[in-house]
């Protein structure tokens, strides 16, 4: 199987994730976009672990870490919702300049 289409898939996911990060306004959706980038990295790590399994092992750790990140992230978002009742990131700019 050729490598190219895995690489294209992963690059595509990164670009879509980045596009989401810079255009979306809902923090949960931004978190989703970040998950897409992490998945892209995992595709690389898993698909190209031909010579050794380190890549796959690493990918399993990355999955665990991304779960932890989502956990903390959602907690923060929920707390923001509790305080402001509005979770548009474009409205969160009390700290600036």
């Amino acid at each position: 199987m050729i490598a190219f289409h895995f690489l294209i898939t992963s690059i595509g996911l990164v670009l879509i994730g980045l596009y989401g990060v810079i255009t979306l306004r809902h923090p949960i959706k931004i978190l989703m976009s970040i998950e897409l980038i992490l998945n892209a990295a995992n595709i690389n790590l898993v698909a190209f672990s031909t010579e050794n399994l380190i890549g796959q092992g690493f990918a399993s750790l990355v999955i665990a870490i991304s779960a932890a990140e989502v956990c903390v992230g959602l907690a923060i978002v929920y707390n923001l919702y509790r305080l402001k009742k509005d979770i548009d990131v474009m409205e969160v700019n009390a700290l600036k300049w």
Binding site: M1, F6, I11, T50, N52, S60, A64
Partner: protein
């Protein structure tokens, strides 16, 4: 097999795009879960069985459900938040895409080969990756402590 994989890749990308584009939060989350599942299938296709399994378990099972739950908690009905700067985003992302894709065309490596069976991965996790694997448990613990502290209601 090859064409099947291509179709899955295509579906992964399309559903990832739909995560960004769909206006409804719940749809986004469902597309995300679908996209995760597709990535899991890709893992299986290169022989990474263990990874494929935990991808589906953790991502679609844990992460996706957590996202859905939080969407239900925090969303208000009828309110959808529009995107910002769609076109400038496309230009920038396209530029970055060009810069990465251009060198990657010449990659001619094979993929797959080693079998990512559970026992192989398990052996790896308890030899070379022993300390990172242990540290992951600390990461999870610290995330749990942090998240529960923030979510918790202080009653006094």
């Amino acid at each position: 097999m090859q064409s099947l994989m291509l179709i899955i890749s295509f579906l992964v990308l399309i559903s990832a795009l739909m995560v960004i584009l769909s206006e409804d939060m719940v749809h986004s989350a469902l597309f995300l879960i679908f996209s995760f599942g597709g990535v899991g299938a890709l893992f299986l296709s290169v022989g990474a069985q263990f990874l494929g399994a935990i991808q589906i378990l953790i991502y679609t099972g844990a992460v996706g459900v957590m996202m859905l739950l939080m969407i239900y908690f925090t969303s208000k009905e009828g309110k959808s938040i529009k995107r910002e700067g769609k076109y400038s985003g496309i230009v920038l992302v396209g530029l970055l895409g060009f810069l990465i894709l251009y060198p990657s065309i010449s990659i001619t490596r094979e993929v797959g080969g080693t079998k990512g069976l559970t026992q192989n991965i398990g052996r790896l996790l308890f030899s070379d990756l022993l300390i990172p694997f242990e540290v992951i448990s600390i990461v999870l613990l610290s995330a749990i402590i942090g998240a529960t502290y923030i979510i918790r209601r202080e009653d006094h």
